[in-house]
């Protein structure tokens, strides 16, 4: 219940936030973060009883029973860690945003989108039902699209938002498919029950497909290579959004998924190799590309990518130590990265630029911001006694004992050194080196609401660095959940001089080297002109558009002849293929050839058809077709279907009358099409006629299920008080069908009318000019 309450608070907040512009400016910093804070407290309360007493906190509400979709929430270890980060950092972000967005008339939208995103994200980490998880997963994609595209007046922003949506959305589709297969393989929809059937899932024939699909979902969301390019582009979002989505939350959704899927899908060679290699590649690529960036936010995005790669790698290793390291790193990263993003936003806000080369000497002007940045940067660089240091120590401890120890360790050392260098670049140089040049704005300290968040988070990083035991219950619970079994972890800051510490020293020295050589490396990299995955994306994007344009040109040619051809050919082919499957074209022999009237009518109709084909004027052709129509009506009458016969006669009369009106105004028939086309048309027409004939004959022979017509005839007068069974079926037995049909009729009339009416208007405009 408490989980539902937390979600409800967030959902309501997202609705009420639309009215935020009416709040007095003074109240905003107090009111706006409140719902997030409430949700945080609720989750913390739930978490305490979860960790302390091992209580199972869950809620099941039937939702769509015939789709097996229930609303199932369940608090798990990883979910708790994520949930606390989402709501806790979320509250601080809103506090920050309340000041950052000061005076922006669209601010209320941002708050509302932030809250709806928070709702989706919290739902995602609490959902126990796979489909529910998927729904929240897609909701985060959609809400993040709105958030990234917030400055929608800029074209590049719209492009970037769409890119993020397309990539994460496509990944989401893959994930849905993966979940469905997972259900097929395991027989359950619940995450909490999946762990038990891990063995049967992994030995199932569908395992490779599930594996690939779920990973696709996670990799796109967490921006792993080769989908990594959307994340730096998403930096066109307002800074509070970047700080929120791209530090603690959205991009971590993929990590969350991998962490909870580890006990189900993990521990296979495929899992280890795939995750380690893709994670490692992402880590290195991101770190290197980060060096080339000069925009504060883009550098931060690069380090986020690097950390995401690192986390994927750690989950790939999948040992107790690596998972412990991953959870520590997850927490540490969320704390310092949110801080740094907010700092970057403050710098941008106060100086008017985010160009790292232009910034300098801000420490004196923005002391509080500089302090928070320093603490966060030290944590990020992995210096003791900050929390980041612990994370890094455990990373090395995990890697040195894993399968491909040396290689992975080397990747990690280089990756961490790159992160170190980027941290110096983004959080150290702008504040502590002498000022570089004239800035667009005269900088001064950011308002209190924009300082509080960074300071709080960075100080928290120091506190749990000194007292890592504080984070132990939370980290341990998350670790257990991700491992699938209980493991007693003890987190310490200082382990004495050991291999991990030596590696840390190597990392720091390498990082310092990178900082010193920064200029040279950048010019070298720029000269190399590395290929980018983004060109592939835009290539595919343009190709899709071209394909769409091509097929639209093909199908929507604007020529009536083509439309008719496509419709008739498609019908013939589709029906014929079905007919073939239902026993070919064998039809029962019709024996009744004795009815002379039928003979007369049929022969008349055949003559009329040829008359229509061969006639030289349109009117003759039309009248001949009318004869065919009346012939059909007589046949109906012959076989005692008076209603059909009357309808047919009326329709035929009206059609001929209307056509005559139109035809009289058309020019005389002249042969314009080539004979090749005409022969082709003839073949299509004949095959269509043959098909219908076969179909009709066939339908008499097929007896798929007991016929209901006798029952309907019996019921007609007794139950529906009508002797005309055709009419009773239309207006009573199958009235709903008829209702649908007349609705279609009305829509068709509107279509015809608007088409022709437009024609008239064009004509009149043409006359006027």
């Amino acid at each position: 219940m408490i989980l539902l309450l937390a979600l409800t608070v967030l959902l309501l907040a997202s609705l009420f936030a639309f009215g935020a512009n009416r709040l007095p400016e003074r109240l905003k910093p107090f009111v706006l973060p409140l719902p997030a804070a409430i949700a945080f407290v609720l989750l913390a309360v739930a978490g305490t009883s979860f960790i302390k007493d091992g209580a199972i906190i869950e809620l099941t509400v039937p939702w769509v029973p015939y789709l097996n979709l229930d609303f199932v929430l369940r608090l798990g270890g990883v979910g708790l860690l994520m949930g606390l980060l989402i709501t806790g950092i979320g509250a601080l972000i809103l506090l920050y945003a309340s000041s950052y967005m000061h005076g922006n008339p669209m601010a209320n939208r941002l708050y509302a989108f932030l809250y709806s995103f928070m709702f989706a994200m919290t739902g995602l980490v609490l959902a126990d039902h796979l489909l529910l998880l998927f729904i929240f997963w897609e909701l985060t994609s959609i809400t993040s699209y709105l958030l990234i595209g917030f400055k929608c007046e800029s074209e590049s922003t719209r492009k970037n938002a769409l890119q993020a949506l397309l990539i994460t959305g496509l990944g989401g589709m893959a994930l849905l498919a993966g979940f469905i297969l997972l259900n097929v393989a395991s027989g359950t929809w619940l995450l909490s029950e999946l762990v038990a059937s891990a063995g049967s899932v992994q030995s199932h024939a569908l395992y490779p497909a599930i594996f690939v699909l779920v990973l696709l979902g996670a990799f796109t969301k967490s921006a792993q290579f080769p989908f990594h390019f959307w994340l730096p582009n998403a930096m066109s979002a307002p800074t509070p959004v970047s700080a929120y989505l791209h530090s603690a939350t959205m991009v971590k959704a993929g990590i969350y998924l991998l962490a909870v899927m580890l006990p189900v899908l993990g521990d296979t060679a495929a899992w280890q190799i795939t995750l380690c290699s893709f994670g490692g590649i992402t880590l290195l690529i991101a770190g290197v590309s980060g060096l080339q960036q000069t925009d504060l936010k883009r550098i931060l995005a690069a380090t986020t990518l690097a950390v995401l790669g690192l986390l994927v790698l750690l989950i790939g290793i999948g040992t107790t130590k690596s998972i412990l390291a991953a959870m520590l790193f997850l927490l540490g990263h969320a704390l310092y990265k949110a801080t740094l993003f907010m700092v970057a936003g403050s710098v941008d806000h106060e100086t008017g630029t985010r160009d790292v080369n232009a910034l300098g000497g801000l420490a004196k002007l923005m002391p509080w911001t500089a302090g928070a940045a320093l603490l966060a940067a030290c944590s990020k660089m992995g210096l003791p006694p900050f929390f980041g240091f612990i994370g890094k120590e455990y990373v090395y401890k995990a890697s040195t004992v894993s399968g491909f120890g040396e290689l992975i360790t080397a990747v990690l050392v280089v990756g961490n050194a790159l992160i170190f260098a980027l941290a110096v670049k983004v959080a150290f140089l702008p504040f502590w080196r002498p000022s570089q040049c004239e800035l667009p704005k005269k900088p001064h300290e950011a308002p209190i609401a924009m300082i509080l968040g960074p300071v709080l988070l960075s100080v928290l990083g120091v506190i749990i660095g000194f007292y890592p035991a504080l984070s132990e219950p939370l980290i341990s619970a998350a670790q257990d959940a991700s491992l699938g079994y209980v493991y007693d972890a003890h987190i310490k800051l200082w382990h004495g001089v050991n291999l991990a510490l030596v590696l840390s020293v190597v990392t720091v020295s390498l990082g310092v080297l990178l900082v010193v050589l920064d200029k040279k490396i950048v010019s070298f990299l720029t000269a190399m002109k590395l290929p980018s995955m983004e060109t592939v994306y835009y290539g595919l994007f343009d190709a899709t558009l071209k394909l769409a344009a091509w097929q639209t040109r093909m199908l929507q040619s604007g020529l009536l002849r083509n439309y008719l051809l496509i419709i008739i050919l498609a019908t013939v082919l589709l029906v014929a293929s079905q007919l073939w499957q239902f026993g070919g074209i064998e039809v029962p022999v019709v024996e009744d050839f004795t009815n002379i009237q039928v003979w007369v009518i049929s022969i008349t109709m055949i003559i009329a058809v040829f008359a229509a084909l061969l006639s030289k004027t349109r009117l003759t052709a039309l009248i001949s077709m009318g004869v065919v129509g009346y012939g059909v009506a007589f046949l109906f009458a012959q076989y005692s279907a008076p209603d059909l016969a009357i309808t047919q006669i009326l329709v035929e009369t009206l059609t001929v009358a209307l056509f005559a009106w139109v035809v009289l105004r058309l020019p005389e028939i002249s042969v314009k099409s080539r004979s090749k086309h005409r022969y082709f048309d003839a073949i299509v027409a004949i095959s269509c006629g043959l098909l219908i004939t076969v179909l009709v004959l066939k339908s008499m022979a097929l007896d798929i299920s007991p016929s209901i017509s006798t029952t309907l005839v019996q019921w007609s007068l007794v139950k529906a008080h009508g002797a005309n069974v055709v009419n009773v079926i239309l207006v009573d037995f199958r009235a709903l069908d008829t209702f649908g049909e007349i609705t279609v009729l009305a829509i068709a009339a509107i279509g015809v009318w608007s088409l022709l009416y437009r024609g008239i208007r064009h004509k009149k405009e043409g006359d006027g000019s």
Binding site: D643, A657, H721, N727, D732, A746
Partner: protein, 144 residues
Amino acid sequence: MNSILLTTATRYVGPLLLTLSLILLYRGHNLPGGGFIGGLMAASSVILLAYARGWTETEESLPIDPLLFMASGLALAMLSGLLGILLGGVFMESVWLPFFKVPLLGKVKLGTPLLFDIGVYLTVIGFTVKCALALGTHNESWKS
């Protein structure tokens, strides 16, 4: 088309067709007929009028837009379905008034199926007349 014969005949045949269409509509439940056939017949009376007097003139002389016919027809059909729910059944369940006898007509059965059929009748009239008028006036304006 200025045919005195046609114009004069229309004056008598038109109302006749309309009356016939109503009869067909009413008797449809027991004998060949019904809303669809009745609607087509009623529409043909309008089209006959158009042939005699011209499309644009006919359109202008119509008291109500045929689209309104369609709308009210759909609404009636929907209403007849909803009555089933209102009177304790399911959507589209038929509900009948007590039958009574009227001289000339015999036993009169009034119920939601008839209401529904009237809805069909109106929709078909609306559809046919609207399309015919659109086509006809369109062509007239091209000619001019």
